[in-house]
């Protein structure tokens, strides 16, 4: 069902865990549909300095979370925003069709975090 790469990221997820001193936390999903992804970021000079995730969900949800954190780590926020769901799936050598939409939310969590971070910054700028 899953590619070897998905299995590898599921079994040995990169950047898993919570971050006490995150600059911002992104979150998507809800428990009803069975997938929740949280990403924690440290941001410096508009770049993702460090990133962690925690995920409630199936194998695909864990693996896409792990993969997306790898893909955006160190990137500028603008570049991170460009990472798409399709790219994540591709980097994992594909996902089963049924999992493409519902368990491939990790890129959205990144966007959520970056958008929150930017609107927080704007608020601060306005202060």
């Amino acid at each position: 069902m899953y590619s070897d790469k998905v299995m590898d990221h599921f079994q040995n997820p990169r950047n898993v865990g919570k971050m006490e001193d995150a600059d911002i936390i992104g979150e998507v999903g809800n428990p009803t549909c069975g997938d929740i992804i949280k990403v924690y970021m440290k941001i410096e000079d508009d770049h993702i300095k460090d990133i962690k995730f925690s995920t409630f969900g199936c194998g695909a949800a864990v693996a896409t979370s792990s993969m997306v954190t790898e893909l955006v780590k160190g990137k500028s926020l603008d570049d991170a925003l460009k990472v798409s769901k399709d790219q994540v799936a591709e980097a994992l050598d594909g996902l089963p069709p049924a999992k493409m939409h519902c368990s491939n939310l990790a890129a959205d969590a990144i966007k959520d975090a970056i958008e929150k971070y930017r609107s927080d910054s704007e608020e601060k700028d306005e202060e």
Partner: protein, 390 residues
């Protein structure tokens, strides 16, 4: 291959060696068409008769002609519901079932509603999965023609009060079908003692081959055949018989009957050991389904809060353990199990279910291995979960 620990006997069972041995000749030299009148055909025909008698014995039917072989338990469920409904549609178009039936029953009922203008009542169940007999009786109407309630649930092992249901059905002159796919071979199934009119069996749940089932139809029960074709199965199910499959089913039925008392004793002990061990060693583990006599001897089902079932299964699989989360048939779907939701559980909790189901050959050592590994797996996944706070 590393040793595997198979705890998914409710999804399917390994074919017993003795069953395979019985099947083998019919996959090699003995290939006659049971409908043919020459030697090869007559031999095949005779063989099917013997298999039919063994299935008859498993459920204590009065007459072997009350057994119709089908291509699966699913087909038997379809035949029971559609066959009775079409036979009695002039009498009425109301069917009663429960919310926690297998999809083979539920989706057939939905088919009857959508395509054939029937009206279906889906009885709710309590927190342990039992229907309410008063509820049932109250839902019977003048136009009710069939009650179909499973004998034992495939996910949570709840054993329904089938005999009482049969009495109510008889009082109201309504046919009663029960899906005993999960019950047969696990608990005693005696159609005469239970008083059911139709009953479904599937070979691959009792160490027989996949792709063969049976429907018991009590003498006199009206049924419109649903598989139209040749005159097989006394004109009640067309199609060249799955000869080897039926032979295997017969042998599996014979073995299941012989093994029942010993198997039951053994599995109840193992089942209760698993349940109490998990409850002791894993926090926030919720047992689904009842305890004791009213639970199938081979079924354990827990919800582990804060985590999702597929992740549990994949982690167990790495450790050599095969188990399931909800019915194997529903694993294509992304919705949590309809059975667990019917118990009143939230979606979130329902997603985190694990079914452990045992077979006659499950050993205590295998159980110990499972119990040794499970807490670590649950903890590992919880540590990743945003819902879990340590």
């Amino acid at each position: 291959m590393d040793k595997r620990y198979y705890f998914d006997h409710a999804a399917t069972t390994p074919i017993d060696e003795k069953v395979f041995q019985e099947m083998e000749p019919f996959l090699t030299e003995e290939f006659g068409n049971p409908s043919s009148i020459y030697q090869e055909g007559q031999k095949a025909n005779q063989t099917i008769m013997e298999a039919r008698e063994k299935v008859q014995d498993l459920i204590n039917a009065e007459d072997s002609r009350e057994i119709i072989f089908t291509g699966s338990g699913t087909e038997a469920d379809n035949l029971a519901i559609k066959g009775v409904a079409m036979a009695l549609k002039d009498k009425g178009k109301h069917i009663i079932t429960s919310e926690i039936e297998h999809h083979a029953v539920l989706h057939t009922c939905e088919f009857m509603e959508k395509h054939l203008g029937f009206d279906v009542t889906y009885l709710e169940v309590d927190g342990d999965g039992f229907i309410d007999l008063e509820d049932l009786e109250n839902s019977i109407r003048d136009d009710t023609i069939l009650i179909t309630i499973m004998m034992a649930n495939n996910e949570i092992g709840t054993i329904q009060p089938v005999k009482e249901i049969a009495e109510i059905a008889k009082d109201h002159e309504v046919y009663f079908h029960t899906d005993a796919v999960q019950a047969a071979g696990q608990i005693e199934v005696d159609v005469q003692e239970l008083g059911v009119d139709l009953l479904t069996l599937s070979a691959h749940k009792i160490n027989g081959p996949k792709g063969v089932g049976a429907l018991y139809v009590k003498k006199g029960v009206k049924l419109i055949p649903q598989m139209n074709g040749g005159a097989q199965e006394r004109k009640r199910r067309g199609g060249t018989e799955n000869l080897a499959g039926i032979v295997g089913f017969g042998k599996a039925a014979e073995l299941a009957r012989k093994r029942l008392p010993e198997k039951q004793k053994k599995l109840i002990k193992l089942r209760d050991k698993i349940i109490s061990n998990i409850e002791e060693n894993i926090s926030k583990a919720i047992l689904n389904g009842p305890r004791g006599d009213k639970r199938l001897p081979n079924n354990v089902n827990f919800c582990f809060r804060y985590i999702e079932g597929e992740s549990i299964l994949l982690n167990l699989d790495f450790l050599g353990i095969a188990a399931s989360s909800g019915s194997a048939c529903t694993s294509g779907s992304l919705e949590p199990s309809h059975v667990l939701l019917s118990l009143g559980m939230s979606h979130e909790v329902a997603h985190g279910s694990l079914r452990i189901s045992l077979g006659y050959n499950t050993t205590e050592e295998e159980v110990d291995y499972l119990l040794d590994k499970l807490p670590g797996v649950i903890q590992k996944i919880r540590d990743m979960s945003p819902l879990y706070d340590g």
